[in-house]
Symmetry: C2
């Protein structure tokens, strides 16, 4: 299995609101921290799943001596917003024309489908790095596309047509909940 | 930091519905799998947070050579049930008389409070191992207790009075959502 790009090897990390030019994950983490600090939403990135196989207990703090990255079984981010369950995966692409579906694991897509069908709000956040454009694509439109297309990627035009462009600004960095406010309700099937 | 009790060192794990005498985490994982398989709820345990400091990339699969356990910033379990956001922490105690609050991190308690106050359903699942009794204690009652008591533990009697005993059975092992069905609505504050 490949090394997940999200892992940071530094032992300390300073979260700052004014450090431009970071990657999508950093932008989302900073935005989520802004939401938490302002009591707007409680959405967290799940830790990267790791299989621990050897631990040294001889020190004061246990040290992991051998471990492996595992495939995630769900999406990376989930949480609570205005009583709604929010669930999403965030991906970047260097392509100017389409988003390769190989970037998302099959069980992540099933998970998005399950969430959408069971009253949660599920979506992808996809950034086209070279275009500097970041879109929300709701679970319904992702599943619709996959049901009706044999292509192994989603063209940029589909994001323009069915997705929602996230305005990037100073604070919060990428205010994706604004899009959930505008259109999320359409996509959410309320249960009993 | 102490080694978290939830980590399993085996590289493979067979989930079976008929293996009695397991710990609370196993019981919850099997119950959650039952809920997923039957399209009832989508609740997952978050991976244990690990700080990776050294990785060997020379092999086909990256091998983590040095890493440390980190404190969790939220609860261990969350997900979606009937459109509701569900969030809980599960703990066992060997005490016959009370549940020590030192078992829960302060930021986990803040998290439960945030979830409860923002329209989610948050609770503890606490098992008194020697009594073979497992309770749900909703976030509201946990916070009420902490606001009104100086004690560093919650007595068993409080669980009997304010908590809900989970019936343990064959399938699903510990059907905690039955309690959410019965009483969860009382505790959930619906937002706009």
């Amino acid at each position: 299995m490949k090394y997940p790009s999200g892992i940071k090897l530094s032992t300390t990390k300073n979260i700052s609101y004014d450090n431009r030019g970071m990657d999508l994950e950093e932008d989302i983490n900073i935005t989520n921290q802004y939401y938490i600090d302002n009591n707007i939403a409680f959405i967290y990135k799940k830790p990267t799943p790791i299989q621990v196989t050897k631990v040294d207990y001889s020190q004061k703090s246990a040290i992991i001596k051998q471990a492996y990255f595992k495939e995630p079984s769900t999406t990376d981010y989930n949480g609570l917003y205005k009583g709604f369950y929010i669930d999403f995966e965030a991906k970047e692409t260097e392509s100017n024309t389409s988003f390769p579906l190989s970037n998302i694991h099959k069980h992540q897509i099933s998970h998005i489908k399950n969430i959408y069908e069971n009253g949660g709000i599920a979506f992808l956040i996809v950034r086209f790095n070279r275009l500097r454009k970041t879109f929300v694509l709701f679970g319904k439109d992702l599943i619709d596309y996959m049901n009706n297309n044999k292509r192994k990627s989603i063209p940029l035009d589909y994001f323009k047509e069915k997705g929602y462009l996230i305005e990037e600004k100073y604070i919060p960095r990428i205010d994706y909940l604004k899009i959930v406010d505008q259109v999320g309700g359409i996509y959410e099937k309320k249960q009993k």
